[in-house]
């Protein structure tokens, strides 16, 4: 009875999955680029592979596209085992960092190319290309060569070239890496808009955490060929499971030390500071263990008068203050040399502490997060 139910739910699951990767491993000599990774991507989902270079995100992308073949494991695309399928039979789309537009073809010919590959009639090709050019608002460049266009325009053409033939999934390998900041932000919104309008499944690779946080339904954070943590941008930002996740996404203040005491709230001793932290069962640490407490910069407050109840207080010196438009960042150092960052909203009428002044910092015990210490990870 239970097994029957379980089988049914698996079958239903498979129908809604565009990509399933089972225990996928890629070994280059002694180096394991990807280490027994399992990952499923739902139809219509926007998933980002995030991680530092060498974390295996590009390897995973190349294994899905078929540009490289795995040492072991399976790749299933739209319910069909594609592990041994050649790249050109997988029905995928891909957007590259350097656009990969054919320099000898016009914009029209570039977008028409995948349709010609599919043996489509000339009249239909013309209609379809005109439609996607309208969708990306570049109708007037159909007869230009890609090189005559700006980087942003070229990347939109490259996106149109994918959209035009309805691939089962669009893979994007750092597509905005070559663009400047302003254009990158515009393109992020453009890609999000197209994703929402067309409901196409997207797998996006980036090492830029802001990009991942802005665009994704789900972020898959990778490290050393494995998935470190996956979840919504909010989960990864507010509820990191590991020190690496906490440090890679957003800015973080980390205190490492030994846990002491009993009950739900215990004490972590880091240098001179004794900090109260709430125990979490998922963190798998208890009294006597090495642990790390994470406080996001927006939860670290600079005392301005009375300090509220239920907080931890540390003393520090203000090193520098940076105004980033709407927010202000204070960079501080504690007596034992620990660097901290506090972030507050900017207000024109607010008096700021002076540089070099000693300040009291505090945070609510409930707004910090307890993590297991990671001996392989050290903050730069």
């Amino acid at each position: 009875m239970t097994t029957e139910l379980a089988e049914k739910s698996v079958a239903a699951d498979t129908g809604s999955m565009m990509i399933e990767v089972h225990r996928l491993t890629k070994q280059y000599g002694d180096f394991r680029a990807l280490d027994t990774v399992d990952l499923s991507i739902r139809k219509g989902e926007f998933v980002t592979l995030l991680g530092p270079s060498g974390s295996g995100k590009s390897t995973l992308l190349n294994l899905i596209s078929g540009m490289t073949s795995p040492t072991s494991g399976r790749v299933v695309i739209n319910g069909v085992d594609a592990t041994d399928m050649p790249t050109n039979k997988r029905g995928l789309g891909m957007v590259f960092q350097n656009y990969a537009l054919m320099p000898h073809m016009t914009v029209f010919e570039n977008i028409a190319f995948p349709l010609q590959v599919r043996g489509m009639k000339k009249a239909e090709i013309e209609t379809r290309v005109a439609e996607v050019l309208k969708l990306i608002q570049l109708e007037n460049v159909a007869n230009r060569r890609p090189r005559a266009l700006s980087g942003g325009q070229q990347q939109r053409i490259s996106l149109a070239r994918c959209i035009v033939y309805n691939p089962s999934i669009i893979l994007m390998d750092e597509p905005l890496g070559a663009l400047d900041k302003k254009l990158r932000e515009d393109m992020q919104l453009e890609i999000k808009r197209l994703h929402a309008e067309l409901g196409v499944t997207m797998l996006y690779v980036t090492h830029d955490q802001d990009e991942a946080l802005t665009m994704s339904d789900r972020i898959v954070l990778m490290r050393n060929g494995r998935i470190e943590q996956q979840g919504s941008p909010e989960t990864l930002y507010f509820k990191p499971d590991t020190v690496f996740s906490a440090d890679f996404i957003g800015s973080s203040n980390l205190f490492q030390g030994r846990l002491e005491g009993e009950g739900d709230t215990v004490t972590l001793t880091a240098g001179k500071d004794r900090l109260a932290v709430e125990l979490r069962s998922e963190a798998a640490v208890g009294p006597g263990d090495e642990a790390v407490v994470l406080i996001r910069p927006e939860n670290l407050h600079i005392a301005d008068g009375a300090i509220p109840e239920g907080t931890n207080v540390v003393t520090a010196t203000l090193l520098d203050t940076v105004v980033l438009g709407g927010v202000v960042r204070h960079f501080l150092r504690t007596e034992d040399g620990r660097q901290l960052v506090a972030q507050v909203l900017n207000r024109s009428d607010r008096a700021r502490p002076k540089r070099g002044a000693p300040v009291q910092l505090y945070w609510q015990v409930g707004e910090s997060r307890l993590l297991k210490a990671d001996p392989t990870f050290s903050k730069q």
Binding site: N88, N98, R161
Partner: protein
């Protein structure tokens, strides 16, 4: 102080280098340009400067079917050689650069072989090889021999073009579903156009003015223009060869200029 010294050295270099370069050009060019005035001289003997000016030598060339025939034969051999060289080299370069064959770098060097062996040795070897097979005095023999000589130049020229073709374009086409054959003809080949054009010019000119190998493997039926010129110098010392040389030079230069203009046009596009 050092700045002034540097600028003086620069201005000296800026003057010295072009002067030396032009002297080298003149040294290389003058002996061949001497045939231009001679070709407009009289028909009895070669003289420089000519004592009288006329177009008689050109008239003689175009009226003599032996000369005229040798010229068309040379153009025919050069054309076929060019086609053979391109058809052989372009897929070879593509395979050597992209397919990650075992020993592909050794094979690439191997294709440069004909450049390293003295032409006279090649010619003798070809002669000794073709003779017992009854291959002498045949167009195919000459075309194949010239193809061998021209292949390294085509490989270098097409290879340089292919290095500028981003392999990501081929991957992009593959992901879009294109077959390897379509990718070669629609993605790679159009981008090798200028390399193939330059290589073809080399191949055509190498075949057109090649004399040593042609002298060994041709006969009365297949004699090319340079072979006929060589014989003419040895047996008749006919001043008509001055007209032939001038014509050959003009044809070669016209092709070179055409190619340069073609490349400039492509770059501006």
């Amino acid at each position: 102080m050092t700045g002034r010294k540097l600028s003086r050295r620069l201005s000296f270099g800026a003057l010295f280098v072009p002067v030396v370069a032009w002297m080298c050009y003149l040294f290389l060019l003058l002996p061949s340009t001497i045939v231009f005035p001679i070709s407009f001289g009289n028909t009895k003997e070669m003289e420089f400067p000519p004592s009288e000016w006329s177009l008689d030598l050109y008239r003689q060339f175009f009226n003599d079917s032996a000369w005229w025939g040798a010229m068309t034969q040379s153009l025919f051999i050069a054309t076929v050689t060019t086609v053979f060289t391109a058809v052989l080299s372009v897929p070879a370069v593509y395979a050597l650069q992209r397919a990650r064959l075992p020993m592909s770098s050794a094979l690439t060097h191997f294709t440069m072989g004909p450049l390293l062996v003295p032409v006279i040795v090649l010619a003798l070897g070809l002669y000794l090889q073709w003779a017992p097979w009854g291959g002498l005095d045949r167009n195919l023999t000459l075309v194949l021999s010239h193809t061998m000589l021209a292949t390294p130049f085509m490989m270098i020229s097409v290879g340089a073009s292919l290095r500028h073709v981003d392999p990501a374009l081929e991957n992009a086409a593959l992901i879009m579903g294109a077959s390897k054959v379509r990718i070669f003809f629609r993605v790679v080949l159009p981008q090798l156009k200028s390399g193939i054009a330059a290589g073809s010019l080399f191949a055509f000119l190498i075949s057109l003015d090649e004399v040593i190998v042609a002298y060994f493997v041709t006969g009365p039926e297949t004699e090319t223009l340079p072979v006929k010129m060589y014989s003419a110098i040895r047996w008749e010392v006919s001043p008509v060869i001055a007209a032939v040389s001038t014509l050959l030079t003009v044809v070669s230069m016209a092709l070179a200029v055409a190619l340069m203009m073609l490349e400039r046009k492509q770059r501006s596009e």
